[in-house]
């Protein structure tokens, strides 16, 4: 099994992750705070602007924290894919000369983004305290959601990075898709604001399913929609294995075309 081969390369994964994280935090304090400031300012601006546009009064929680719970996983998703789509091209000189399973580059970058996510989550905790929203055991249910999201992201990143190798404009196309995708995901609004007849858009958008589930367990003091997450997890897993197979097929010629 190919996945087991990865265990042999754990040192390499560790090293790549640390390199990416250290590189970002090397500019001392600024680098570290950037990880916090970036989502913080985005959240502030979004909740300011959209609070005038959207009937935020219908929400059961303050609008800023509502936005932030959507924004955090979205940022994780979008940062992971933006760096994932270029990962093979960026490491071309390494790939041309030496063998290691190429998905390691992706795994390392995904882990590094998860670390950023964890750091930015400190703001979330601060906001919970500020708005005096009670902490409940349900909140721990964010773990399985994050797991499903990660599998989904990994699968997508595998396909995109391989495609981008063949056609270098995939990265630009994907940036466009990502910015449209943002608006079709309930980050600054709630699905409930939409008439029934349009809600299917959010049911087929995995990011929307995840974000709704995060809100349910973190802010709603509730269990997430179990069938939706199970189905999402199943689909993400199947997609992942297909993507992984495709990626491994491509691997033999990666070095020839980079």
């Amino acid at each position: 099994m190919k996945l087991l081969e990865l265990y042999r390369y754990r040192e390499l994964i560790k090293h790549l992750v640390l390199r990416e994280i250290k590189g970002r935090y090397k500019q001392s304090f600024i680098g570290f705070f950037w990880i916090l400031l970036n989502p913080l300012f985005q959240m502030l601006i979004m909740s300011f602007v959209f609070s005038f546009v959207i009937r935020t009064g219908q929400l059961s929680v303050p609008f800023p924290i509502f936005v932030f719970v959507g924004l955090l996983p979205w940022t994780l998703f979008s940062n992971s894919l933006s760096s994932g789509v270029n990962i093979l091209v960026d490491n071309a000189s390494l790939i041309r000369k030496i063998y290691f399973p190429r998905e390691i580059l992706l795994i390392a970058t995904l882990i590094a983004k998860l670390v950023d996510f964890a750091i930015a989550s400190m703001i979330f905790i601060a906001m919970m305290l500020y708005y005096q929203i009670p902490f409940t055991w349900y909140m721990l249910l964010f773990v399985p959601i994050l797991l499903v999201q990660t599998v989904f992201t990994f699968g997508l990143a595998l396909v995109l990075s391989a495609l981008n190798l063949l056609y270098r404009d995939v990265q630009y196309m994907f940036q466009l898709i990502l910015s449209l995708w943002f608006y079709l995901t309930p980050i600054v609004y709630s699905v409930d604001f939409f008439p029934e007849q349009y809600r299917w858009i959010f049911q087929i958008n995995p990011m929307s399913v995840f974000i709704n589930a995060y809100r349910q367990v973190l802010l709603g003091g509730d269990v997430f929609n179990i069938p939706a997450i199970l189905l999402g997890g199943g689909i993400a897993l199947v997609m992942f294995f297909i993507s992984y197979g495709l990626f491994k097929k491509m691997e033999g010629i990666v070095a020839d075309v980079v």
């Binding site: 390499l12 390199r19 000189s93 790939i95 063998y99 056609y167 995939v170 075309v257």
Partner: protein, 241 residues
């Protein structure tokens, strides 16, 4: 026991004429050819015993580097199988896999770890690597600013520091200065004595003749000779020069 076994190995490169989706679309509409292939390695079979030192010679574009990439696993054969027994260090086409933006120090770690060392082991050998490469003053500079000689020095030092059982060397030495070339040959000589399998691609027939016991001649992707180094080199001189 064989260190390297190749069986009926073929390698096609596919040349993609269109690099963007727009070009693909245009080509599709204009019914242009989208893919050409090059048969770079043709039906190659051989095995190299543990501890053997083999020189691979052939003209430019014959398929030597392709062959080493197949052995190193960097590129996969289109058909046939490549089997390896032992820890490998490849030096393919002027250097190891370095990341141009990273410093020499960082690349030593990255490369050492990819080649199977732990971080701890790289740290232990770090000073030796830098000393052998003689690039101490440049160690924290991005390797893209290295001269090609410096690049190769570092690549060679890291590769030998991993104490490989199989060493693949593709024309690396030619860009080093004479004193470094001499140092490398001495190091390879001691590797040979220790039973390391070495595959050396070189245009320097003198080196191949003196250093290797066996020679394989590649021409247009085909193996045209496989045998005693001295005979191979004189055959090559007659037929190809």
């Amino acid at each position: 026991m064989c260190a390297i076994v190749l069986q009926d190995v073929n390698k096609y490169y596919y040349l993609q004429h269109q690099k963007t989706l727009k070009e693909v679309l245009q080509a599709f509409i204009l019914q242009k050819k989208t893919i050409d292939s090059i048969h770079a390695v043709k039906n190659l079979s051989f095995s190299i015993k543990r501890g053997e030192v083999v020189g691979i010679i052939g003209k430019n574009g014959a398929g030597k580097s392709t062959l080493l990439k197949l052995i190193a696993g960097v590129s996969k054969p289109s058909s046939g199988t490549v089997q390896l027994n032992g820890r490998l260090a490849p030096l393919i086409e002027l250097g190891a896999g370095f990341h141009p933006e990273l410093s020499g120090r960082e690349n030593i770690y990255l490369n050492g770890i990819i080649l199977g060392l732990t971080e701890q082991e790289v740290t232990e050998r770090f000073d030796d690597i830098v000393a052998f490469a003689e690039i101490r003053d440049f160690i924290d500079m991005p390797v893209k600013n290295y001269s090609s000689g410096m690049y190769v020095r570092l690549a060679f030092s890291v590769a030998v520091a991993t104490q490989p059982e199989i060493l693949l060397v593709d024309e690396v030495l030619s860009v080093g200065d004479l004193s470094f070339q001499k140092k490398c040959m001495q190091r390879m000589e001691s590797f040979r004595k220790n039973g390391t399998t070495i595959v050396l691609v070189s245009h320097d027939l003198g080196t191949v003749e003196s250093f290797c016991e066996r020679t394989i001649i590649i021409d247009h992707g085909l193996k045209v000779f496989d045998g005693n180094a001295r005979e191979g080199v004189s055959l090559f001189r007659e037929r190809f020069l």
